[in-house]
């Protein structure tokens, strides 16, 4: 009998697992896939290592910083600053028709950019920033409210509103057009106030440190162990039944599988399905390996969030892919001591999940190739032409994401309605991860920690 079974060996599940294992709870993480990672994973293809999910770690803070999410999470997981080898970005931008706002990990630079390009808006922008700084995004009692409404009270130029929303939505919004204000604050702090960094080795290093820590404290991990059913008796969870038919008993179950995905596993469904609607925002990502470094071509930016439509539209497109906007990321463009082995460009754009899910297999590959070319053409308006330097290409779609993570619709940011307290209709079944609502790489780990602390470790609940 385990104290806790955790469903999913992604960052949130591992973080919850480390907390429980550290405090000597018998804990087992069950993972359906053949490896750890979940939505932030990695793979090897034609002798090349690739990251999935992670473009950059957000919430950057300088080593030794005593406050903020990154410092909090390292302390909670008993990790050291050097464990994640975080190297700051070179500089990123939001590129819209005729106007580009640049930003770095120094917020004052971004503020100055806003003051220069939008002089009439700077006072409102500063009021908004102070409101964001005062908002406690980790308070689980926050109510949902429209971020666009709150932002538009201070910023009257819709172009600036769109340019602020663009990177925040691309890197974390499960909802179309608007975000819940707390989610907006999490992303604003993570991207603009704190900033981007990346380990030289990419997401592999973070995953390796997490699993090492979990194992060191005595946690158990079972790969290739998909959960068929979450078992309960009289409204209390008793364990899980694996796809193999094996039953594992536990006093608590924590699921990082997603809220709708978790509810579908419960032997007793929730009285209401309505709070558990899966998300529908997903992406296609194209990955190019180059025979030069991006900087050799004059491309020095870490990440470019681009849009050339009059208004920025964030929604599942009716077309297979929305070519009007996207994200260009170069993992080479961080301030490393030594360069990466190879030049890489990753371009990501909004995709229509239904289209990619329902394509017959024989058309799927051809369509993926055709749209990869269209995505590049679209992105080339915002970066130097690198096509003659491409030595390898890969792409993944909502279908790939669902195949490897089991998240419905390939929805990388999960359900529109977050369940912040992590509680469910069953006693001792808790949610963590994307659908608990702390966003980003650091957020996902904080989600696991928070749910473990609140429901499993706090002495009154033990």
């Amino acid at each position: 009998m385990y104290d806790t079974i955790i469903i999913g060996a992604g960052l949130s599940g591992l973080a919850a697992g480390i907390r429980l294992a550290y405090y000597e709870r018998p804990v087992c993480i069950v993972e359906k896939h053949t490896t750890i990672g979940g939505l932030n994973s990695f793979y090897r293809l034609r002798k090349r290592d690739h990251d999935v999910g992670l473009h950059a770690v957000t919430n950057y803070a300088k080593p030794g910083t005593k406050t903020g999410p990154l410092s909090k999470l390292l302390r909670q997981l008993r990790l050291r600053w050097e464990d994640f080898d975080l190297t700051p970005q070179c500089g990123s931008s939001v590129a819209f028709p005729g106007i580009t706002l640049r930003f770095t990990n120094e917020f004052a630079f971004f503020e100055q950019q806003v003051a220069e390009m939008f002089p009439s808006q700077i006072d409102g922008f500063r009021r908004l920033v102070s409101q964001i700084q005062q908002h406690d995004e980790l308070n689980l009692a926050n109510r949902e409210s429209s971020a666009r409404e709150i932002v538009s009270r201070e910023i009257t130029d819709p172009l600036l509103v769109d340019m602020i929303f663009c990177p925040l939505m691309f890197y974390g919004s499960p909802t179309a057009h608007d975000m819940d204000f707390t989610q907006f604050v999490i992303m604003f702090k993570a991207i603009f106030l704190e900033g981007f960094a990346r380990p030289h080795e990419g997401v592999r290093l973070i995953m390796r440190k997490m699993i090492q820590q979990y194992r060191k404290f005595g946690g158990e991990l079972r790969l290739r162990s998909g959960v068929k059913r979450i078992l309960s008796n009289g409204g209390k969870v008793t364990g899980v039944e694996l796809e193999s038919g094996e039953v594992l008993e536990a006093k608590h179950v924590v699921s990082s599988a997603g809220s709708a995905e978790t509810m579908r596993m419960c032997d007793v469904p929730p009285p209401e399905q309505e709070p558990y609607q899966p998300g529908a925002v997903s992406f296609v990502e194209t990955i190019f390996s180059l025979d030069v470094m991006p900087s050799d071509l004059g491309h020095n930016e870490t990440i470019i969030f681009y849009n050339d439509n009059e208004r920025f539209v964030y929604d599942a497109p009716t077309e297979p892919i929305d070519l009007r906007s996207g994200i260009i990321c170069s993992p080479n463009n961080f301030q490393y001591d030594k360069p990466l082995d190879e030049g890489r460009v990753r371009i990501t754009a909004l995709a229509n999940p239904d289209y990619w899910m329902n394509l017959p297999q024989d058309e799927y590959v051809a369509e993926k190739d055709a749209w990869t070319n269209r995505i590049v053409e679209s992105a080339l308006r915002f970066m130097p032409d690198f096509r003659s330097h491409v030595i390898d290409t890969d792409a993944f779609t909502p279908r790939t994401i669902t195949k490897f993570t089991s998240h419905f619709n390939g929805a990388v940011y999960g359900a529109p309605h977050k369940i912040r307290t992590g509680t469910t209709h069953l006693d001792n079944l808790f949610l963590c991860g994307t659908d608990q609502g702390f966003l980003g790489i650091i957020g996902s780990m904080l989600s696991g920690i928070t749910i473990a602390n609140l429901h499993l470790l706090k002495p009154t609940s033990a």
């Binding site: 005593k66 410092s71 008993r78 920690i449 602390n453 002495p459």
Partner: protein, 85 residues
Amino acid sequence: MSADQIRQVVMKILCRIAPDNDLTALKDEVPFREQMELDSMDFLDIVMELRKLYRVQIPEEDYGFLNTMASTVQYLIPKLQTATA
């Protein structure tokens, strides 16, 4: 365990949960929160570490006793009198 030994135990725990704080100048009569960046997650960790190390149970209503080093040591003396450092 003596008051001195208990103080050492609490120091060890503080080092573990807040390694980036300089604890050499910690004042025993001043609240931890005023000298270190500790949040509610960290206070939970002090409680949990004590439980892990010495099986001491500290109910939530007693968290107030963990305000300063001096009050923490005072509070722990009866609970740790039979424990060995």
